[in-house]
């Protein structure tokens, strides 16, 4: 059972060590990398345990649920914690090709570990108030990482980012206060048991709306996503990669949790609202992406648009759609992290990510281009890559649930994504450059990280069937709830 606490404990102790250790970049980078590999290993161990032995529970300090703080790992949590390990390791490798010295001196490495701890904690906790605390841990780390610079653009982005996230946290906390007032508990499993017996349509609607607003801000759903494209392109690529890969997914995860545990039988209007928000997110995100001429801003809008896929599937709340959503989240974490790293290479080579300054990559940097091709075309949804399979799974989910118009929309938005990414590929890699020489080498560690993530995408494509079987089981577990509730509270299922 103790392995459950490792994904939180490893980054926490590493952050402490890193703050006390001498500020020599090489030393800090090695400690950070070792810790991230440990985090990944413990996450994989946890996942294997959950996969064979079912939901894992740790009652912290032996206080039985619902009185103490509970850590729970079901399949969804365990898979996502593995993804945290993967992203953390990739970012730690990237640090070897150089971090801005100011950032590195002001705690880049410990902050990154705290960010990883916050995300892993959010995925593992079984208590809503504890989830709020992990959100704050994660946010404070991301605030500082975002603001560790003095350019005007970055200051503006950081301030917007901080303000909107603090508002989201306040709304989340308001929901928690009301929920506690109504039920007297904030333990997720206990709430899943108690809430259906006392909920009224009015209370359901108020609480669900507060949760939807708070988590939609974090996840980046229409009409609450405008902060994301305004801020994610300003920090260095490695930080952008960690944010894009993990932070919005925590919002999606929280939405999945509240909807599968608490509001699964809420009024259809609520699901219609989530569906409408998701559909609008998909369309507006991708249309805006087509309107952009900067590689990183294109990525930001693609990120937003694809979050819509997962929440749209969630709003159907059927096993097939939810399995597709989880598959898509996993695919998206790997691919979008990788693409932000690709933007980092572009920045190093040309000092810009604007399309006007790019081009000719395919001729000048054949290895890098071949590697970058995989995530770009995977995000675009070109068969047989993981993006295509993820969209196929979501499409099957929508058709099986009878939501044909949503299926059609998924196809249209898929086409827009294809257009956006193919154009990005053509403009930045394929088109001949306007006589711009490359200013620097791409940096071997950066290329190693990109290669590893690209390989992972290929592996997810080849191993799509077992992976999809896994996410299907995860979806079943979420929708049946019994195993989760029983594991936490004991007693008869």
């Amino acid at each position: 059972m103790r392995v459950l606490v490792l994904p939180i404990l490893v980054p926490l102790s590493t952050a402490a060590v890193l703050m006390l250790a001498p500020k020599r970049p090489a030393l800090q980078r090695w400690i950070s990398l070792t810790a991230s590999v440990f985090l990944l290993a413990s996450a994989v161990l946890l996942f294997l345990r959950v996969n064979t032995a079912g939901v894992q529970v740790l009652q912290v300090s032996g206080w039985p649920a619902p009185f103490g703080i509970t850590l729970v790992a079901d399949l969804l949590s365990a898979i996502l914690v593995v993804a945290v390990g993967v992203v953390g390791t990739a970012i730690s490798v990237v640090a070897f090709s150089g971090v801005d010295p100011r950032r590195e001196a002001f705690g880049y490495h410990p902050l990154l570990q705290i960010l990883l701890m916050g995300v892993a904690g959010a995925f593992l906790t079984g208590d809503f108030f504890n989830l709020y605390v992990w959100f704050e841990v994660m946010l404070v780390a991301s605030f500082v990482l975002m603001a560790l610079n003095r350019t005007r653009a970055q200051m503006e982005a950081a301030f917007k980012y901080v303000t909107i996230n603090l508002i989201a946290s306040s709304i989340f906390l308001t929901a928690l206060g009301l929920l506690y007032g109504a039920t007297g508990t904030l333990n997720m499993a206990h709430l899943a048991r108690v809430w259906p017996t006392i909920s009224t349509p009015g209370a359901d609607a108020v609480l669900a709306l507060l949760f939807v607003i708070a988590f939609s801000i974090k996840a980046g759903l229409f009409p609450l996503f405008f902060w994301l494209p305004a801020s994610y392109h300003t920090p260095p690529a490695a930080i952008g990669a960690a944010f894009a890969g993990l932070l919005t997914k925590v919002g999606v995860y929280a939405l999945i949790r509240v909807f599968t545990l608490l509001f699964h039988s809420a009024s259809p209007a609520l699901f219609a609202l989530l569906l409408a928000m998701s559909a609008a997110t998909m369309v507006i995100g991708l249309v805006a992406a087509l309107n952009e001429r900067d590689f990183r801003r294109i990525l930001s809008f693609n990120l937003v648009g694809h979050i819509g896929y997962t929440t749209a599937s969630l709003s159907l709340l059927t096993p097939a759609a939810l399995a597709g959503a989880i598959f898509y989240v996993l695919h998206h974490i790997v691919v979008i992290t990788n693409l932000y790293l690709v933007s980092g290479v572009l920045l190093r080579l040309r000092r810009t990510t604007d399309m006007a300054g790019l081009g000719g990559m395919y001729r000048d940097q054949p290895v890098f281009s071949a590697l970058a091709m995989i995530p770009i075309f995977s995000l675009a949804g070109v068969p047989p890559l993981s993006g295509f399979l993820g969209k196929l799974a979501i499409l099957e989910g929508t058709f099986a649930a009878g939501a044909y118009w949503l299926g059609g929309l998924v196809l249209i938005v898929g086409l827009l994504t294809l257009l956006s990414m193919v154009r990005t590929w053509a403009d930045s890699f394929w088109r001949p450059a306007d006589q711009v020489p490359d200013l620097a080498a791409p940096g071997t560690p950066l290329l190693i990280a990109i290669a590893a993530l690209s390989l992972l995408t290929v592996a997810m494509t080849i191993g799509a069937e077992p992976l999809f079987e896994l996410t299907s089981r995860g979806a079943q577990q979420l929708l049946q709830r019994d195993e989760y509730v029983h594991a936490v509270l004991g007693g008869t299922p």
Partner: protein, 114 residues
């Protein structure tokens, strides 16, 4: 009493939201503070107001004797206050940096080159 506290919390939310819609950094931060205090008051009120005994088992007794006050909302509010305090301190420093970098305290002008 609940009504009064609910009203106070509502006023704090409203004032906080109003201030956050202003363009000056300082007002924005005061707004954030009011919003988080409104939330704290809401948790405190929603947790149940009672004129009851503290939740301590009396000497010789085996269990708590109702009515007793619920200690959990206090713990929640305390955590929220600490987090809110930290975040307010951080936003103050950030606002100072924004002002030093951009030379303006108008949110709309921060990103605009002069």
């Amino acid at each position: 009493m609940e009504g009064l506290l609910a009203l106070a919390s509502g006023v704090l939310y409203a004032a906080g939201t109003y201030l956050m819609l202003r363009r000056r950094l300082a007002q924005l931060i005061v707004g954030l503070g009011l919003l988080s205090n409104g939330t704290n008051l809401l948790i405190f009120t929603a947790g149940g107001l009672t004129r009851a005994r503290p939740p301590v088992v009396a000497a010789g007794a085996a269990a708590l004797e109702p009515p007793y006050a619920d200690p959990v909302p206090q713990a929640l509010v305390l955590t929220a206050i600490v987090i809110g305090f930290g975040l307010t301190a951080f936003s103050l420093v950030l606002a100072h940096r924004v002002h030093a970098t951009a030379g303006t305290d108008d949110v709309d002008d921060v990103g605009r080159e002069r």
